[in-house]
């Protein structure tokens, strides 16, 4: 078990700087998730922590030890690859025991630890199978098992669920959460799926273009996003962004902050009311019924479109003029640079 501390970490590939100064502390036993759009540098950052990629500048500490120049194998990290990286010529037992074998751990201890990990992950019955004889979810579990066998201080996951279908993803997500609960080891998890981030994380790190946009608990990020990017990245469907002037109509009692140029309100926080002068008037353009909720697309007089999520079955039909309101606590204001203001 160990904490992970990054101080002004940077990474250059040739002339281009991919990671542009990241400061971050992941506490011992914490589950941290890196999210961000494709190409923002999540994998690169994770690989720098693992030692597969060297650090161009900055300081990397794991468990209090400076790791910049320590070999990957000696950092006490275990990694689960997106591709699983299971060796096709080895069965599950040998795949899981590979790390112990190369480290010359005696056969009986190796066997014991492999069986222990297999029991944790319900892989007992599969030990003699080859990767090609496993389903996607089972391969995924073997990949995790392989990391567990080495009993690392820090687990690193790079989009481990992205090759699974939606249902299995939800299932494996809960298994990983359960695993963290049981092992209480520090975990760093990369994903671009914000639902995964929200459900798994103690701490979410939102990255964009090699910079940290915000670090916080899922609730912090949802309720108090620092800026427009985080506001729209976290939460699904994404937050509506309207000119600040509309705020008066959505929530008449609210005082507009001086520097606010835009107001954000989440689709699930908008309520449909009769059109009146002190509500935001809109016209329904589309209803998407999903079962649990309905996604209603509306058009504002200014031409912007806006999304409303409601759990009522009967939404006003297309073409209806409606009013929209929200509680003032659910409004987010942003200045001209996209920074949150209150």
């Amino acid at each position: 078990m160990a904490d992970v501390v990054l101080k002004d970490i940077r990474k250059q590939f040739g002339a281009t700087e991919i990671i542009r100064g990241v400061d971050l502390t992941v506490d011992e036993g914490e589950f941290a998730v890196f999210v961000g759009p494709s190409g923002c540098g999540k994998s690169t950052l994770l690989r720098m922590i693992s030692g597969l990629e060297d650090v161009s500048s900055g300081e990397l500490h794991i468990g209090g030890r400076r790791m910049n120049d320590v070999q990957a194998a000696k950092r006490g990290v275990g990694m689960v690859f997106q591709s699983y990286a299971l060796y096709p010529h080895l069965n599950v037992r040998d795949n899981m025991g590979f790390g112990l074998k190369v480290r010359k751990v005696p056969v009986d201890e190796r066997d014991r630890r492999v069986r222990e990990a297999a029991a944790t992950l319900k892989l007992d019955a599969l030990l003699d199978r080859y990767p090609r004889q496993l389903s996607g979810g089972q391969r995924q579990r073997v990949a995790i098992g392989r990391a567990i066998v080495g009993s690392p201080d820090v687990f690193l996951f790079d989009e481990p669920l992205s090759n699974l279908d939606a249902e299995l993803r939800v299932h494996m997500r809960s298994e990983i959460a359960a695993l963290h609960n049981r092992l209480k080891t520090t975990m760093i998890y990369v994903t671009h799926d914000q639902i995964e981030a929200m459900t798994l994380a103690d701490k979410i790190v939102v990255l964009r273009d090699g910079l940290v946009e915000q670090i916080g608990s899922p609730r912090d990020l949802y309720e108090k996003p620092n800026n427009v990017f985080v506001a729209q990245f976290i939460g699904s469907p994404r937050m509506n962004l309207l000119p600040a002037a509309e705020a008066k109509l959505i929530s008449p009692t609210h005082a507009l902050p001086a520097s606010a140029v835009s107001v954000g309100v989440r689709p699930e926080h908008l309520r449909v009311v009769e059109p009146t002068t002190d509500s935001l008037s809109a016209t329904v353009t589309l209803n998407e019924y999903t079962g649990a909720v309905t996604l209603m697309h509306v058009e504002l007089p200014g031409g912007q479109t806006c999304l409303v999520v409601d759990d009522k079955r009967d939404m006003p039909p297309i073409g209806t003029r409606i009013g929209l309101t929200a509680d003032k606590d659910n409004l987010h204001f942003f200045d001209a640079d996209g920074r949150a203001v209150s």
């Binding site: 597969l52 990290v77 690859f81 096709p88 010529h89 590979f98 392989r146």
Partner: protein
């Protein structure tokens, strides 16, 4: 008119002259016919002819072929000491060439499978001999390997070694044809190994490194097992190639000295086109075919057992 029963029913019910299946079959045959016809004329035809010739006594000069059954085989296997000497030469050639070629090919491939500045240049350098004319290659080496005044011996002289007359002493001649053949052909196997190495996902190596494997362990425990199918293919084609070596021997040593490099393919050529014993040469060719086939099957069988 009853609209619920369209008039076209009758027409649809009649079986068309060409069903879709027949038409597809015809098309398929049409597309493969150039290859099939080529195969029949240039491969299967001669093969059948050789089988027949091998059971005749036919001197090309006399223009007369007499059927003699298995006499040619009987003569070769039991009455001709030259034959066993030739087989021994072929085996020595193969045992010298195949491991050397494969080890060198793999070493080069490991060095040249990852991009670095100049990698294309090096790959080209090692592959170029493969596509040069074997005759030209052999002539150049014959020249370099001359006993007196040959470039190789001059270089050896610089470090105080008196080189042998390479192509005039049986053992040295064999070594010389093996090594020069390896240098010529190694590029082909190198390319096959490079392709196989590049198909190994990078994650495999990274995962192993992260778990503490040394480079050597990554190679022996991950890369080498994954290369097994390629290694088998290379083993088979290189072995077959070494049994078929002809032009190289023809140009460099002509089978000499003292028949020291007289290998099977060259012996077949000698019998058929120098001494005009076509029937006998055909029988030798059949024997070579059986040997090569047997070696291939053994290799495939070993591989099968290895994966179980």
């Amino acid at each position: 008119m009853d609209l619920s029963r369209p008039e076209t029913t009758a027409r649809n019910d009649r079986a068309p002259w060409l069903t879709l299946k027949t038409r597809e079959m015809l098309e398929a045959w049409l597309f493969v016919s150039p290859t099939v016809i080529g195969f029949l004329i240039f491969f299967l035809g001669p093969l059948v002819a050789v089988v027949y010739f091998s059971m005749t006594e036919w001197n090309l000069l006399s223009q007369k072929a007499t059927f003699v059954g298995l006499d040619n085989f009987n003569d070769t296997l039991f009455k001709n000491p030259d034959f066993w000497h030739v087989v021994r030469n072929s085996v020595v050639f193969a045992i010298g060439l195949v491991p050397l070629n494969m080890a060198l090919a793999l070493t080069l491939a490991l060095a040249l499978s990852r991009p670095f500045f100049g990698v294309v240049f090096f790959r080209t350098v090692f592959f170029a001999p493969v596509i040069t004319s074997a005759i030209a290659w052999a002539i150049v080496w014959k020249f370099l390997l001359q006993g007196e005044g040959g470039v190789i011996n001059q270089m050896l002289a610089l470090v105080g070694i008196t080189g042998p007359n390479w192509l005039r002493e049986p053992n040295w001649a064999m070594a010389a044809v093996i090594v020069t053949r390896v240098i010529k052909m190694v590029g082909l196997n190198m390319i096959l190994y490079i392709a196989a190495l590049q198909a190994v996902p990078r994650d495999y190596e990274e995962a192993a490194r992260l778990e503490g494997a040394s480079r050597w362990q990554v190679f022996t425990m991950v890369i080498w097992p994954l290369l097994a199918p390629t290694t088998l293919v290379i083993l088979v084609i290189t072995t077959i190639g070494s049994f078929k070596v002809f032009d190289h021997i023809y140009q460099m040593t002509g089978g000499g000295p003292e028949n020291g490099t007289l290998v099977l393919a060259f012996y077949i050529y000698q019998q058929g086109f120098k001494f005009f014993n076509v029937g006998y040469a055909a029988a030798l060719a059949m024997i070579m075919f059986v040997i090569v086939m047997a070696l291939t099957l053994i290799q495939v069988w070993i591989r099968r057992r290895g994966t179980q």
